[in-house]
Symmetry: C2
Subunit: 286 residues, 2 copies
């Protein structure tokens, strides 16, 4: 039990390559991902589950979901002591790290990637990951100086999305850029001061998708990247954004327009708008 | 000082119709809004400011920004005792409630409104307000059973946007719906189970904006509302969404598409996508 509680801290997580999923929703997602992994001959996602009797009465599906895995009864106090949350609602799962290698992700020919560059807040990292899942991104990549995505608060903020799409962690920024460029993936920096307006890219993309090459006085000039191309979005640190060097690594600097008086967007919000713009452009007219 | 600290609680806020802005960024936005209000002959936004000497050395612009207002020196301990934040960074402002009446907001002929219906989490409420500001919404409306937007955590989450656009609080839901309908404002319910796909609305709107009525095999059928119309988006409670009765009050139920495996979107994220879609549709091709 003490060993489990230690997973709230990074050293124990790194040493054992395990982390905690807390609460019925996260544990359910972990168990579903575990079952899918086993069915596909992939490594297990969950190591063991601890739950209170009351929790199992309330959610009688868990013993079945956890079949083949150690499911241990524990008291409320024990669960609370293991978990980082004040109220883990009677269930926690010890999970194996789920991150993949960059090679593994690139080999699958990704069309849409979300890259977090020095994102520091676990809640923001989780929100970006959830947004990437919602927008159907192929993977999420965190550079080596970003927050630990297995931090309990980050795991909670993903609301299960950590188990939904491939995640790559601890990637050196320079190496990542080279690898993405070599694959011909367009690098877009999300940058409030960017010279390219995301709305303009969306309009141009809509024109192409909707099959119209001659609107008004003629086809508009391409001013930047085609959103429908294979794309990696770079999202920077919440305070400082992307550094000049990081911005220079991207092919384009794209700004989400600010229509009101807000000075900036939260990184999770910006990521949502950017990833949804790409997702929409990459799909046919619905 | 104790009176100021009491503003962290709702009873004192309601009684005095005052709230706290904490930290340099929020206080700066409050003071800028205060100056603009005074210049326009509107009621004052800020009542008084408390700051540490260290803070005023670090941000020497504050005495000037606060000119005409009581600016009181206080110790770190006093500031910390007044504020809700662990680290208010040496400055807090006592602000007057800034909300307006529904009449006032509707009289201005709004084109885009964000309505929070029973949103309970202060962080979510702040995020929706900030997203509304970013998307250039004309006002934000909170129904009577929503969280108090003057809650310190909500104020912080708006990152100054509370001072940027009109906010209406404590509105009865039924009354609101009637008033919006009477104005001919289209009511869109953001609903994960909605029968209308936001992407489709965006595509149809893009076609109209881009001046093309005949694409492919003919003009597409209008399947729902025109995003470019004057619109009020309804965003529901974070756990339960909008109730059946609330959904029935809207003219259309619109879903933000989920491309990945995520089961739902955070209300702040959904609001961002919806409000940006409207903002973009309401503007000309950039």
């Amino acid at each position: 039990m003490k060993d489990v509680a230690k997973l709230a801290g990074r050293p124990a997580r790194l040493k054992r390559r395990q982390f905690l999923a807390e609460g019925p929703q996260a544990v359910r997602e972990a168990l579903l991902a575990h079952r899918a992994a086993i069915d596909e001959g992939l490594p297990p996602v969950v190591a063991e589950v601890f739950a209170t009797e009351v929790c199992l009465e309330r959610y009688p599906e868990f013993p079945d979901l956890a079949s083949g895995l150690p499911l241990r009864l524990a008291s409320d106090d024990v669960i609370a002591a293991m978990a980082d949350t004040v109220s883990p609602q009677g269930i926690v799962a010890v999970c194996h790290f789920v991150d993949r290698t960059l090679d593994n992700v690139l080999a699958a020919g990704p069309r849409l990637l979300a890259v977090m560059v020095r994102v520091q807040d676990p809640g923001n990292a989780g929100t970006v990951l959830r947004a990437a899942d919602s927008a159907g991104a192929d993977a999420v990549i965190l550079t080596s100086s970003s927050v630990d995505i297995y931090n309990p608060k980050a795991v909670r903020s993903t609301v299960g999305s950590l188990f939904h799409l491939p995640v790559v962690t601890g990637v050196d920024f320079e190496v990542l850029i080279q690898r993405l460029q070599a694959r011909g993936i367009v690098l877009l920096a999300a940058d409030g001061y960017g010279d390219i307006d995301l709305d303009r890219l969306q309009d141009e993309s809509a024109l192409r998708r909707l099959g119209n090459q001659e609107v008004g006085s003629g086809s508009p000039e391409r001013t930047g990247p085609a959103l429908e191309a294979a794309t990696a979005w770079l999202f920077g640190n919440e305070g400082q954004g992307l550094s000049d060097a990081e911005l220079a690594s991207a092919q384009y600097r794209v700004a989400v327009p600010l229509y009101g008086q807000a000075e900036s967007l939260n990184v999770g919000t910006a990521a949502t708008v950017c990833l949804y713009a790409s997702a929409r452009a990459q799909r046919e007219l619905v």
